[in-house]
Structure formats: C-alpha cells, structure tokens
Amino acid sequence: MRKTGIKFDLSWIYVALVILFLFLPLLSILFLSFSKTIYLEFPPSLFSIQWYKEMLCNKSLLNSFFVSLRIATTATLLATSLGTLAALGTRNLGRKLSNISYILFVAPLIVPYIILATGMSRLTILIGIRGIPAITLAHTVIALPYVFLLVNSGFQLLPKSVEEAARVLGAGQFTTMWKVTLPLIRPHILVATAFAFVASFGEFIIAYILSNPFANTLTVYIYGSIRDRQEPSVSALLTLVTVAVIFIGFFYTRSVYHQRR
C-alpha cells in the first residue's frame, strides 16, 4: 500500500514538472511584461506597465501584428473553403484515387516548410507576386492539410444513413450536402479553422524568406528582436495575444462541445 502511494506521487511530480517546463516560456513572457527591469530577475521586481506603454508607441511592432492578422485571416478563409471542398470531394472516390488525393493533400504537412519556402521564393518571382499576397498563398498551402484531415475525420464519424435518409426523402445532391452534411460536420470545420489560423499566425520560416520591409509578420519581427536587441515591449504584445488565444480557444471548444450534444 505504502509503496504504491509513493509511486503515485512520483509520477504526478513528473507530470507537473513537464507541464511547468511547457509553461516556462509563457510564464516568463507574462512576468517580463509586468516587470520593472529589462531582464527577468528572481525575485521579479513587479509591478509596472511601462512595457505596455512602450508597445503602444512601437509602430513597427504593431504594424507587423496587423500584417500577421491580415495574412492569417485570408489564409484561413481560403484554406478552410478549399480544404472542406476537397474533403467533400474525395470521400467517395475509388481506392486508388483516394490514396493519391490523400497524399496530395497531406504531403505539404510532412515536408519541411523551409523547402516550400525555398521553392516559393522563386515561384513568386516568376509569377510576379511578392510580399503579403505571396506569404498568404504559401500559408494557405500549409493550412490546407490541417483542414483536410480534420474535416475528413468528421466524415468518418458521420453515419452514411443520415445522408441516405435525406436523399430518400427527395433532397438533391447539393441540398443534402448543404442542409445535412455540412451542418453535421460544422464542429470539425470550426476546429479546422482554428488550426489553420494558428498554423498561419505562428509560421516563421516562410514568412521570413518571402518577407520584405513592407511585409514583416509578427514572427519575423520577433525573430529580429531576439537576435539584435533587448525589447521587453514584445512580451507585452505576446501576453495579450496569448490571453486572446486562450480566451477564444475556451469559447471555441465550448461552442464545439455544445454543437456535438
């Protein structure tokens, strides 16, 4: 009895340590944003909002944030519509075609983004787009596999009989799709949009290679900031972004669960 008790404690301590390690960067960003000092010290000297004030004056930081937001929103909309259509179109294909389409739609996920970035940097020059549109298109490519896979997993849970019932009752092919299939997999589409947005918003390497002085995303800005200077005001923005992500994620999961019931 005693022995199992000790084992129980040890494994919980391990789990707690791993979770603490995962949260270490977020916690240090949070404390830094409220600290009075330029470095994060122990014990931290709180409490000051000077970095938040500085953030609001930092035009290039705020600008890069809005560039990221624009790119991520457009890429998410594109990837969600293309990916959902692709998942709808490929679910009843024959075995061979289905395998080919699976490889085509999932491959961008398992090939390192730096390879896509290297190719895209030349492709975008050839077709004459650059900056924000180029990054948006590349981000759509990397977000599409997430949407495809998540929506596909929705179809696998969907019983065929539901759609068949709609057809038997006289609904056409597209009416069934629009009124029955899509509403039923809406939770999966919602989760897919979240994944697509996160994939684009936090992507660094493609944005770095395709960026120019007028198209710096937040990630590219932060890379420069870590490499070249001490800029604690970045932590203020990151704290706000993280809080927003957690907040939105919370309501997202709640609404998804709600729809499932």
Binding site: S11, N92, S235
Partner: protein, 290 residues
C-alpha cells in the same frame, strides 16, 4: 434493364460531380506546392555563378559538392543527429506523461490535456522569446540559481539550448500522439501481464510498447520532420550561424543568393526527410492522423 442502366449512369455522374469539388484544392496545391518542388528540381541542376546569380545548365555539380565538400557533409550529419536525438529524447520524456494521463479518469485527463495544448497553440518563435528570457545568462532561472547560491549555468546558446528549445516546442506532439494510442489499450492486458509475474518495466517493454507502435511512429514523424526544417530554434537558442541545413539554406538565399545550391540542398533535405518518414512508417506503421 434500360432503367437500371440509367440509374447506374446517374449514380456515376453524381459521383463525378462530387469528385469535382476536390478540384480547386487540388489545383491550388499542384500550382503552388508541386510547382515549387519542380522549380527546386530544375534549379538544382543549374550552375552557380560565383558572386551571386545562376546560369541555366544541366550539371550535377551542386549535388556532387554537397556529398564531397566536408562543409556540407558536416551540416547534413549534424542536422540528422539533432533530429534523431530530439526525436528519441522527446518520445522518452513524453511517454510517462502520456501513460499517466491515459490511466486516470478521462475528465481529469481532459484538464491536463488542455494544459498541454495551451503552450502548443503558441508559436515556436513566441516560445523561443520566452525561453531566452527564462534561460539566458541573465534570465530568471540563472537569477534564481545565483539567488540560492548555486551560480550561473550556461543553459542556452549551446547544444543544450537547442535540445531544450526543441523539447519545449515538440513535447506536446509526442505526448498527444502517444496518449491517443495508450487510451485504446485494454487495461486488462497489463493486469494479465502483472498477474503472470512481469514487473512494470517488462510489461511496458513487451506489452504496451508493441501496442502503441503507430503512436510512436506518428509522434516520431512529427518531431523528426519539424526538427529537420526548423531554423529559429538552432539559430536563436544555439547561436549557430551555419549549424544546420535550414540555416545554410537561409544564408544562401538571403545573404549570398546561391539559388541553385540552395535548391540542391533543399532536395537532399527532402529526400532525407522522405526516407525518414517512410522508414518510420514501415517500422512502426500507421497513417498520419490528427
């Protein structure tokens, strides 16, 4: 008979129409992703002009250089070693967590999974920013260590930093893919092993691990692929100017503009990654799932 035939035709047409829905996405991927790869392949045979620029040609010079020049061989090996070490360390570190969470009641586990997913949703570069302030020479961990009298330790800007950085960004992938597999194992299998006299280690090795092979496979694929292509972690936490393939690729494009060489190197990287992924799939099985 005739009517039957027309029903078949109608079904086939409907299927065809449904298949057309996948076309825009397929064209998009072919036009941007497949085309990018084709461009890389073509340019990798072009001739590099010293001082920047390229000449259309068909030469294997770039590939020969990659496999003979010690500079390229070193970075290729180094990248592979980092990727393999990070994959193994990530899987070993995450297994106990995944196992623990799979064996408690699901409601409790959900809470911990949320805790694991929250940092997972923040971008790698954001976490690197936090890690620099946490582990740097004047960071909070070192400040704490000197506060309690241990003294400062160099945690980042070396190899330790690179591995710590990769673990921090990739542990959630490994934990989640192992977790989803372990939950599907019937607990009675383990109990049977215990009853038959196997200890914890033997049970893990002979019963659980063979059953979660596909989870190990998909976790390994995620970690391996991401490490092979990530630039910000080695660059910022390791301060390695030309340490790995990704950083050399960036240098060649942005600083030196050796596009044919960068294309050839990308292609070699692609082949290594494809080899890694297929061997993980062959050995461990499993399709990529989300």
């Amino acid at each position: 008979m005739n009517q039957n035939h027309s029903v078949v035709m109608w079904r086939a047409r409907e299927k065809f129409v449904e298949g057309l829905l996948a076309l825009p996405g397929a064209i998009f991927i072919i036009f941007f992703w497949v085309a990018s790869l084709i461009i890389l392949l073509i340019f990798s045979f072009f001739k590099d002009v010293p001082g920047g620029g390229f000449m259309p040609a068909f030469t294997f010079e770039n590939y020969i250089k990659i496999f003979t020049d010690p500079f390229y061989l070193t970075i290729l090996c180094r990248t592979l070693v980092i990727a393999i070490v990070a994959t193994i360390v990530a899987l070993i570190t995450s297994y106990p967590v995944a196992y623990k969470l799979a064996r408690i009641n699901p409601r409790k586990a959900d809470f911990f999974l949320v805790l694991i997913i929250i940092p997972f949703l923040t971008a790698t570069i954001f976490r690197v920013f936090g890690l620099v302030y946490a582990l740097g020479n004047y960071g909070v961990v070192n400040s704490f260590l000197s506060y309690i009298g241990v003294g400062r330790v160099k945690l980042i800007w070396n190899w330790t930093g690179v591995i710590i950085g990769f673990l921090n960004t990739l542990l959630p992938y490994a934990i989640l893919s192992l977790y989803s597999c372990i939950t599907q194992i019937d607990k009675s299998l383990e109990e049977a092993a215990y009853t038959l006299g196997a200890n914890k280690l033997r049970t893990t090795w002979h019963v659980i691990l063979p059953l979660i092979r596909s989870g190990i496979g998909s976790g390994a694929i995620f970690v391996f692929v991401i490490v092979m292509g990530t630039f910000e972690v080695p660059s910022l936490l390791g301060r390695m100017k030309s340490g790995i393939v990704a950083s050399v690729l960036i240098q060649q494009q942005i600083a030196f503009i050796h596009y044919p060489m960068a294309s050839a190197l990308s292609f070699v990287l692609l082949i290594i990654v494809a080899g890694g992924v297929t061997s993980f799939m062959k050995i461990l099985g499993g399709r990529i799932k989300l």
